[in-house]
């Protein structure tokens, strides 16, 4: 057979091909099991000895030429036609996706605050909601029969004496300071309970975050520094802060902390009661009597503590005006966060 004629035929055939199907037909015709190349190859043994080598080389060259032609054609065909990119169609139609759920806004705020303190080196610890009267009051230097307890009206358990639902997260301070030795840097998120009649501003169940740090040489100025970083991380760098003297039985000196109103920027509005300031947390240097209760040497160590209400922060942050919304669990509310 005239290899040259075959080669010319191949050149002509390949020009005609304009689809992948036709290319496959072409491949089968020449390179298939019963294709031309196979036929030529099977003819080799029948050739005279002196022609075999030359003919074999020619068939091989033909085969290589076919392979490269096919590969080349494949590239041009894939580039030009075959699977065209799909038209975008009506993009007004709803997108198809899995819908995500969402964390409760109180969880989101708690996580955010915990993460801020975590980055500053505080560990996150939790404690039980059912507490002893000792951890909730006595150990925190709150005398049992004193007006300072009025701020902490408390649910007591019926069949267990001196057991109660913690009215703040501070009992975890007592637990942790008994369990571990300084240095301590801990934040405690958790649920707390107070028998308050429920209205837009009050709930008998709410959430707090407690934080404290104990070491040698901890100063009131450190408390200011840590809380300033915290407030800026939550409410932005423009926020102003002020520390006002206050009274808490478990800290001395004690301070209440206000931030400049995030709504009116300190000019005075209905949210801040025209004061320009919003009270966000209570804090102070841990009272030596608390150290005495937990067996920490108050001459050697000092520490600060602070506590804040998560609902309060969430309400300010998101502009929520009724605390009951957090516990109603209306999906129309939850899905906004």
């Amino acid at each position: 057979m005239d290899i040259k004629a075959v080669s010319a035929q191949i050149d002509a055939d390949i020009q005609e091909i304009n689809s992948l199907e036709a290319l496959e037909q072409f491949r089968l015709k020449y390179l298939g099991r019963k294709g031309l190349v196979a036929e030529l190859t099977s003819a080799i043994p029948g050739l005279p000895q002196e022609e075999r080598a030359r003919f074999g080389q020619e068939v091989n060259a033909l085969k290589n030429k076919l392979l490269s032609l096919i590969a080349e054609k494949q590239k041009t065909l894939a580039g030009s036609s075959g699977q065209a990119a799909q038209a975008a169609g009506d993009l007004g139609m709803p997108g198809i996706s899995q819908s995500l759920g969402q964390l409760h806004p109180l969880t989101q705020v708690t996580d955010e605050i915990c993460a801020i303190f975590n980055r500053m080196g505080f560990s996150i610890v939790e404690g039980p909601e059912i507490e002893s009267e000792y951890n909730n009051f006595t150990g925190l230097n709150i005398p049992l029969e004193h007006p300072s307890r009025e701020a902490f009206d408390t649910f007591y358990l019926k069949n267990y004496t001196k057991m109660l639902l913690r009215s703040h997260t501070s009992p975890v301070q007592v637990r942790q300071m008994k369990e571990q030795k300084p240095p301590l840097a801990i934040v405690v998120p958790g649920r707390v309970y107070r028998p308050d009649a429920v209205d837009a501003a009050h709930s008998f169940m709410f959430h707090q975050i407690e934080g404290f740090m104990v070491d040698t040489g901890i100063k009131f100025s450190d408390l200011k520094g840590i809380l300033e970083m915290f407030a800026q991380a939550v409410f932005g760098n423009d926020i102003k802060m002020r520390f006002r003297p206050h009274f808490f039985p478990f800290t001395e000196p004690s301070a209440e902390v206000d931030i400049s109103c995030i709504i009116c920027k300190g000019k005075g509005c209905s949210v801040c009661g025209r004061k320009g300031w919003l009270e966000i947390l209570g804090s102070g240097m841990i009272h030596p009597n608390v150290f005495k209760h937990v067996g920490i040497d108050a001459d050697k160590y000092t520490g600060f503590a602070f506590g804040l209400g998560i609902e309060r922060i969430a309400m300010l942050k998101y502009g929520i005006n009724d605390i009951r919304l957090f516990f109603e669990n209306d999906l129309r509310f939850l899905r906004q966060f």
């Binding site: 080196g121 019926k158 100025s221 000092t302 999906l331």
Partner: protein, 672 residues
């Protein structure tokens, strides 16, 4: 508490406007919650913290103003009486622990009538109703000094003696507010020879009230035990300006002076013929001092305050300073500062007067501990998975009522922990399960026209067998129909047990929990790991749905103890090399009679197919026209592979045929 700007000015020269004064007071710890201009004066309403009873007086606030504005306090020293009347009144204090000091001033020949204009006006400015000149003067002296006074009509008393004693069982008194009150041994009373005439420190009796006809009075100034007054107030549900101050602690040092101040005003405005005075108890309290190390103050505050300023600030606040050594002061504590007991109390005083705002900002060197909180990490991993699966987190109340628990069938067998002092029935018990709270949230959302509700909560449940226990628990509720709008149109997925199971599988897979079983018990299924019950899946009963007011919907719930699954989690991952040789997939389609478990089929196939069968999955499931009633159609996909070579079709053929045969033999399936 309310004070006025002009009233304060009687005690200290104020050179700053009322607004500035209010701001300074707020920043010194006397939070001014309102400032109002009224009748040519300014009324400041101040929130006084419970540790500072001395601020519950104009004098106390003025002392603070003097310290923060660096001025001197002008003391009012009332003149003693000149006309002394003869008299004979015994004072008996039954228990000196109940009453530290009792003084009585008998003032004769007075004229009761309306108060002078200035007095009425001033009282009204601070929210005190004018009654008559005598009562108004006692109130005025109280507001000015913080020491409560009470005036009795002397002629309605048995004038022989005054007794401060506990009430007798069955004793009665009608208080000034017109209420008849039954007394008991916990109540401290002021009595004459015959009967109780006042509740000590709380309120006087109506019988001995000063009226327009009163000619002679007994003016009481005393100090009662704070706890006794507090218990009386709580027991009788009766609060007054007096009890408020006694509970917080009244200054022993002001008693006689206040009585004298009132007597002087009575002389001025009510006419007096003569006065007789007697008292019993401690004349003054023990002198105390507290050591102050100014270097320590600097250490605690993070700022050094000049020694001269320290001394000046403390003196203006009424402390008496003696320098003991370099940096060491001996600070004498005045009787009105019972709250100052330790050095830190003085340090707070310094900080207040120096100004918290002037203390610098610093950052402590934190020595971090890196121990992770395993439970918190688990909780947050689970929450993230659930949010990814499209569930919304809810937070429901930990307290609930017994009736709901019982009516939903969860009160049985569990004795919930009861609350001693709930405000309402909804706070009767601590919940032993999350299910009722989730049920209510589902119901609320269906009422708001939601089509599909998928919610979860992670919080404690409370169990109280021997001692109260908390168990961190995950609760899930699924209900309704979820709609997906796909290219081929609307697809609806009605929530069911398998949706719940899918969530459990996903959680367990991500947490590395294996070897769990779901124990079908009809409308519920127990979740067990290594034979320990860790949770429950259930479908709410029609009765429960009815109670929750949920109509035409099933609600599927899960409760899973996170405390229990914590020890089964394996979050450390190990890489398994990817398969080196391609495998072959073969499907088997068949119909299966209802009643056989697919789980058993999968177990059988996995065992029979060894070693070539590496995976078998259910890839289709159908019921419908082509399937006879009582059967379901299933398609399994079997995947064969080897780690040593590429398998050939004929190699897997015998295994695949064996699997088909076993399905027919053991489960009577009909291959399709």
């Amino acid at each position: 508490m309310k004070v006025t700007y002009n009233w304060l000015k009687e005690f200290v020269d104020i050179k700053i406007p009322a607004k500035e004064l209010a701001d300074k007071l707020t920043m010194a710890g006397l939070e001014v919650v309102s400032l109002e201009e009224k009748a040519g004066d300014f009324v400041l309403e101040i929130e006084i913290t419970s540790n500072r009873p001395d601020w519950l007086s104009v004098l106390g606030v003025a002392r603070e103003v003097a310290a923060i504005t660096r001025r001197e306090l002008k003391a009012k020293n009332p003149k003693p009486e000149t006309k002394i009347a003869k008299g004979n009144l015994r004072i008996e204090i039954e228990n000196k622990k109940d009453c530290f000091l009792y003084t009585a001033r008998i003032i004769r020949g007075i004229k009761v009538g309306p108060s002078p204009e200035w007095l009425r006006k001033r009282l009204e400015l601070v929210g005190c109703r004018s009654v008559n000149n005598i009562v108004d003067i006692t109130n005025y002296a109280l507001l000015e000094s913080g020491e409560p006074l009470h005036a009795f009509d002397l002629d309605k008393l048995n004038p022989e003696k005054i007794v401060v004693r506990r009430a007798k069982a069955g004793e009665k008194i009608t208080t000034l507010d017109g209420q008849a009150r039954n007394l008991n041994n916990n109540v401290l009373v002021i009595a004459d020879k015959a009967k109780a005439v006042a509740i000590a420190g709380v309120m006087g009796g109506q019988e001995t009230e000063v009226t327009l006809d009163t000619r002679n009075i007994l003016l009481e100034a005393a100090v009662f035990d704070p706890i006794v007054v507090r218990r009386c107030r709580q027991a009788l549900g009766l609060q007054s300006e007096s009890s408020y101050r006694f509970e917080r602690g009244v200054d022993l040092g002001m008693v006689e002076q206040t009585s004298l101040r009132a007597a002087q005003l009575i002389r001025e405005y009510c006419f007096t013929q003569g006065v007789f005075f007697n008292s019993s108890g401690l004349a003054k309290c023990k002198e105390r001092s507290v050591k102050l190390d100014t270097a320590r103050a600097a250490e605690v505050l993070g700022v050094t305050i000049a020694p001269a300023k320290i001394k000046q600030a403390l003196s203006r606040l009424g402390f008496v300073i003696k320098q003991k050594a370099k940096n060491i002061l001996d600070v004498g504590v005045p009787s009105f500062r019972q709250d100052v007991k330790l050095e830190v109390d003085l340090i707070e005083e310094l900080a207040r007067i120096f100004g918290y705002e002037r203390i610098p900002v610093s950052l402590p060197a934190v020595k971090p501990q890196v121990t992770a909180n395993a439970k918190r990490a688990l909780t947050s991993a689970i929450k993230e998975i659930l949010v990814g699966l499209g569930l919304s987190e809810v937070i429901t109340y930990s307290l609930t009522d017994k009736l709901t628990l019982n009516s939903l069938g969860f009160g049985l067998g569990v004795q919930p922990i009861e609350i001693l002092n709930p405000l309402s029935q909804e706070q009767e018990v601590l919940r032993p399960t999350l299910i009722p709270g989730l049920g209510r949230a589902v119901s609320l959302n269906f009422n708001q026209k939601q089509e599909y509700v998928a919610i979860f909560e992670v919080s404690n449940i409370f169990l109280g067998e021997n001692k109260p226990q908390e168990e961190l628990t995950l609760g899930i509720a699924l209900s309704g129909t979820k709609s997906f709008l796909l290219e081929q149109g609307l697809v609806k997925d009605e929530a069911g047990f398998l949706n719940l199971k899918g969530i459990v599988e996903t959680i367990f897979a991500r947490l590395g929990i294996s070897g769990y079983t779901l124990n079908n018990q009809g409308s519920s299924a127990e979740i067990r790991i290594q034979n320990e019950k860790v949770g429950l899946m259930l479908s709410l009963s029609p009765q429960s749905l009815n109670k929750l007011n949920i109509k035409n919907k099933n609600v599927f719930m899960l409760e899973l103890s996170l405390d229990k699954i914590l020890s089964f989690t394996r979050r450390d991952k190990k890489f398994i090399p990817l398969p080196r040789y391609p495998g072959i997939a073969r499907d088997i389609s068949f119909i299966l009679k209802e009643g056989f478990s697919v789980q058993a089929i999968l177990v059988l196939l996995k065992e029979t197919g060894r070693p070539l069968l590496s995976e078998v999955r259910i890839t289709d499931y159908y019921k419908g026209r082509q399937i006879p009633v009582g059967y379901r159609g299933l398609t399994l996909s079997c995947f064969y592979s080897s780690n040593e070579r590429t398998l050939a079709e004929n190699e897997i053929q015998p295994t695949h045929e064996l699997l088909c045969a076993e399905l027919v033999r053991k489960f009577g399936v009909k291959l399709r």
